[in-house]
């Protein structure tokens, strides 16, 4: 990243249209040729409360939120609670302004709705403005919106003001509104947009403002996609036509997308009584020959533990999603965390037999979802996509061509009736669904309704036809075969490109990350190398079976490695050490668990601590030095 960027933050209350306004704004900038990235922050509340979305735009490679931001559009919170003395939440009416000042960079811009926010109530406001050389634009956005249309259109007025100040052609926004808005509300919105734009240009001298939107150009057509959409489209292109679920933030986003699209193509979506049922339905559909998925977030995924084990034991191919959020228990429902790693890897009784993917961005979300289905159906094993609140709603531009791929409805080693006729059966007539002998561990299956394919699927240990068996020889043969599948999968995944190295190959130091933190780490690596440090990163996209060789090579190639993750107990470092214990003394940790994802600057600072073996940090991050010596 260079300084040639704009980070625009729109703040208000939940229900004020912050998300949709920011999405349109991001899309307009993307269409203008810029790379964009959105970061959202919202409370677990239907109406009101401190909410913001940041849109970061630059000519090239935006992979993370930035350190702070430079343009605040503070709208009123229409659902703010009445301030009461002693209330711990304080005056909510001013929060869109007051809560966002700490991160605003020097020289930044503030546009606030003077129709709803009284800046005099913000402690030390004038003083802070002066100290930080902020440019402040108090505009009666509500009044303007009310005059030309409806009060809710004050977002549009704010965007119009933004365009005027940050030098964004207002036509870019107009074009988008024309695409997105129904006729009835389009006209007043266009009027409000232009009115606000003109008013700022007329009433203010903008010569001192240095915040502006850069120019950019894309080589090919881009689309704006978030992580949830990436996963859903990947599943769709793999021929997934069955989903069962129960609402829970943030997994609901994928469930919603699939529920909308599946009926149009003769698929089935089921909203059911709980997550135990949801995962069980996915198993029932997959057992019957349909490509099926389910998913949830932390607590809901916990309920899926037992069906997950059933899928492992009965070798039923399903794909589950785990959209992590801050825990334990209900935790912080709308805040990201990567503390469900161990939960996903090990939950459910017995030796776990699953595959876990961790995409880093919306494009990877699509790729990993496709791979998760391929592996699940080819190897008759549950696969899990572990992502989090951050990735689920994070928009980035992706080349449209990324999605231009052939569908793959293949259901793996599932026999046709003709093949079943020639396949081994037990003397009693049942099909040998769970044979001991396949070298790759995969014993082809039949599907109910096929002639002569009868077998028993079971959560009990079972013999070759599926009948309950506690015979020691059979037990060992079946466990070994199921374990062999993981070895075959590991070989299959090697060289798949789902674990990605970043930065100079011969770097002295390494950073290890997974999932949604990868983009932030990449930016930190760039900054460090620009600063004459020598650093590279490895993003691990396959968490189980663990890519031991790739990670080993990476760790061996550098002097030290810092593991970056959003949790308090260094689970990813623990996983790495479980597989590669001999490198323990080389691994330090940088942790963050305050509900907000890392900023690149925090990773940069953490790196300096690693090198200097120092602990202190200015941020709410925790540095854990390497053990050993």
């Amino acid at each position: 990243m260079t300084d040639d960027e704009l980070i625009w933050r729109i703040a208000g209350g939940s229900g004020d249209g912050i998300a949709s306004t920011s999405q349109n704004f991001a899309k307009a900038l993307m269409r203008s040729g810029l790379d964009v990235f959105t970061h959202r922050h919202y409370p677990s509340r239907i109406r009101g409360g401190h909410t913001y979305t940041e849109v970061r735009a630059a000519p090239e490679d935006v992979t993370s939120r930035g350190d702070g931001y430079d343009f605040l559009l503070a709208l009123g919170d229409s659902f703010a609670r009445n301030p009461q003395e002693e209330a711990y939440y304080g005056t909510e009416e001013i929060k869109p302004l007051s809560e966002n000042l700490d991160d605003l960079r020097e020289g930044g811009v503030i546009v606030y709705d003077s129709g709803l926010i009284d800046a005099d109530e913000v402690p030390n406001f004038d003083q802070r403005v002066e100290e930080n050389n902020w440019h402040v634009f108090p505009l009666d956005l509500r009044g303007l919106a009310r005059e030309k249309g409806r009060e809710v259109m004050r977002n549009t007025a704010g965007v119009g003001a933004t365009c005027a100040i940050a030098d964004i052609p207002v036509e870019a926004i107009e074009e988008l509104m024309e695409d997105a808005m129904p006729e009835k509300i389009l006209e007043p919105n266009l009027e409000i947009l232009n009115e606000a734009y003109d008013a700022v240009l007329e009433d203010y001298d903008l010569s001192g403002v240095e915040v502006s939107c850069p120019d950019g150009e894309h080589e090919e057509e881009q689309v704006l996609v978030n992580g949830s959409e990436g996963i859903a489209y990947g599943a769709f292109d793999e021929g997934c036509r069955f989903i069962a679920g129960y609402p829970m933030t943030p997994w609901t986003e994928v469930f919603t997308i699939m529920s909308k699209v599946l009926p149009d193509v003769g698929g089935i979506s089921e909203q059911v009584e709980d997550e135990i049922a949801a995962a069980s339905l996915a198993i029932g559909a997959a057992h019957t020959g349909v490509k099926a998925m389910s998913g949830s977030s932390g607590g809901g995924f916990a309920l899926m533990s037992e069906p997950l084990g059933l899928a492992e034991m009965s070798e039923t191919p399903i794909v589950l999603l785990e959209a992590a959020r801050a825990g334990p228990s209900t935790g912080m429902p709308t805040k990201p965390e990567q503390a469900d790693l161990e939960h996903v890897l090990y939950t459910s009784q017995g030796d776990s037999n699953r595959v876990v993917f961790a995409p880093a961005d919306p494009a990877e979300a699509y790729d990993h979802a496709r791979r998760a289905f391929e592996i699940a159906y080819e190897y008759q094993i549950p696969t899990i996509i572990l992502y989090d609140q951050k990735l689920s709603g994070e928009y980035r531009n992706v080349p449209a061509s990324h999605f231009d791929r052939e569908p793959n409805p293949d259901i793996g080693q599932t026999l046709t009736e003709e093949q079943i006729a020639d396949a081994p059966h037990e003397p009693g007539g049942k099909f040998q669904r769970f044979r001991h002998d396949p070298e790759d561990g995969v014993s082809p299956r039949s599907v109910p309704g096929q002639k002569d394919g009868r077998f028993l699927a079971s959560g009990n240990e079972h013999n070759e036809a599926g009948h309950i068996s506690e015979d020691p020889d059979n037990r060992v043969a079946q466990v070994d075969r199921r374990t062999r599948k993981l070895e075959t999968i590991r070989e299959d995944l090697d060289g798949n490109g789902l674990n990605v190295t970043y930065g100079p190959e011969d770097a002295d130091y390494g950073v290890l990350a997974f999932g949604s933190m990868v983009g932030t780490v990449e930016e930190a690596v760039d900054r460090l190398n620009d600063d004459d440090e020598s650093v590279k990163a490895l993003a691990v996209g396959e968490l189980a079976p663990f890519p031991e060789e790739e990670v080993r090579e990476f760790i061996e190639s550098v002097d030290r490695v810092m593991v970056v993750e959003m949790n308090a107990s260094a689970q990813f470092r623990g996983l790495t050490q479980k597989h590669l214990g001999e490198y323990g003394p080389k691994l330090s940790s940088l942790l963050k668990y305050n509900g907000n994802p890392f900023e690149p600057g925090e990773v940069v600072e953490g790196f300096h601590n690693t090198v200097a073996d120092e602990e202190p940090t200015d941020h709410q991050t925790t540095f854990v030095p390497a053990g050993g010596d």
Binding site: R31, Q222, L224, E229, Y233, F236, D237, G239, F242, V261, V265, G266, G267, I268, S269, V272, E273, I276, A277, S280, L281, I283, G284, A285, H287, T288, G289, V290, A292, E306, P307, G309, L310, A400, F403, D404, R405, E406, P407, I411, T414, T416, E417, G428, G429, K430, V447, P448, G449, Q450, D452, G453, R454, L456, A457, S458, G459, N460, H467, I468
Partner: protein
């Protein structure tokens, strides 16, 4: 052409086809009521015209869960309480299958009670047989959701302080469109009721009294039984919800007073099944979804064609 030639196959079916060639003999205790369910089911399916290859039996955990170990069809021996959600999806994915779900009273009315309520509410088109022995058998005789108040066991040494679940009333209230009770000692009635349940279009729940001679010695052997549809002392119309509710309540009370009432309690032939409801609102394909994955000519939709333009 269907990838599932067993579905809808018209032929004579011999009851013995449902007996596995290997290990046909169950491990249930001598005198166990579960034998009665097995026998009744073997009798009912051929009469309903369904073959082993088009039948999927989905069971829970417990002695009842072993039903499909001793029954020759496609089977899924799932986990405790979860037979119903697995069965529901199987039926949605391939409605041509004859799906039979089964489990015990602890399985269906206890740990899986939530699924029971919602499956009945949604009126999925399959049969659910609950082996009700008023006790946890396989784990050696603990008090179950249907054990009578005061029932003593190692886990309730002072006797249960709880009123038992009322399975029939619960089923009716939740929305089942076919509710019956039979008993293992009543093989002909059991077979007939299961056959009717199979032929019923909607969720058909059979509370099947299965005596446990090992762990529930105190309980009645469910004899003598009275068929409320046949006996002149009882006069009610199973298509009338209010009358059915009253009859169910009387039946549930009577059981704990030593009187075994059985029969078909409620049937609603007019209520559409869940599958029909879903098709009605355009949320379920006419052609079974399971067929599509075997159809080489199907033109699979792509996200690039369907959704990506909206993101430009």
């Amino acid at each position: 052409m269907s990838a599932f030639s067993a579905i809808g196959e018209e032929r004579e079916i011999d009851q013995d086809e449902y007996t596995p060639g290997i290990e046909p003999q169950p491990t249930w205790c001598p005198g166990c009521g579960d034998f009665g369910v097995l026998k009744a089911l073997k009798g009912a399916l051929p009469e309903a015209g369904r073959t082993p290859d088009e039948t999927l039996t989905v069971t829970g955990i417990g002695c009842s869960g072993k039903l499909n170990s001793y029954f020759n069809s496609y089977g899924f021996h799932t986990i405790h309480g979860r037979a119903l959600p697995v069965a529901r999806a199987a039926k949605l994915a391939n409605p041509g299958l004859e799906v039979i779900a089964a489990g015990g009273d602890g399985d269906g009315y206890g740990i899986g009670g939530n699924h029971f309520m919602h499956t009945a509410r949604e009126n999925h088109d399959f049969t659910y047989i609950v082996f009700n022995n008023e006790i946890f058998g396989l784990t050696k005789g603990q008090t179950s959701p249907t054990s009578p108040k005061g029932h003593k066991s190692k886990t309730q040494p002072h006797g249960s302080a709880k009123e038992p679940v009322r399975p029939l009333s619960l089923s009716l209230t939740a929305g089942a469109s076919f509710v019956a009770r039979t008993a293992a000692v009543n093989p002909n009635q059991a077979k007939e009721l299961i056959k009717e349940a199979i032929e019923h279009d909607g969720f058909a729940h059979i509370d099947f009294l299965t005596q446990c001679p090992t762990w529930n010695k105190d309980a009645k052997q469910y004899v003598p039984y009275i068929d409320v549809n046949e006996n002149d002392d009882y006069d009610f119309d199973p298509t009338n919800r209010e009358e059915a509710a009253e009859m169910m309540r009387e039946t549930e009370n009577a059981l704990h007073e030593g009187k075994v009432l059985t029969g078909k309690y409620y049937v609603d032939e007019d209520r559409p099944s869940y599958q029909q409801e879903k098709q009605q609102i355009g949320e379920m394909p006419e052609e079974p979804l399971a067929e599509r994955y075997f159809d080489d000519d199907y033109d699979w939709e792509r996200s690039a064609d369907m959704f990506i333009d909206d993101h430009k």
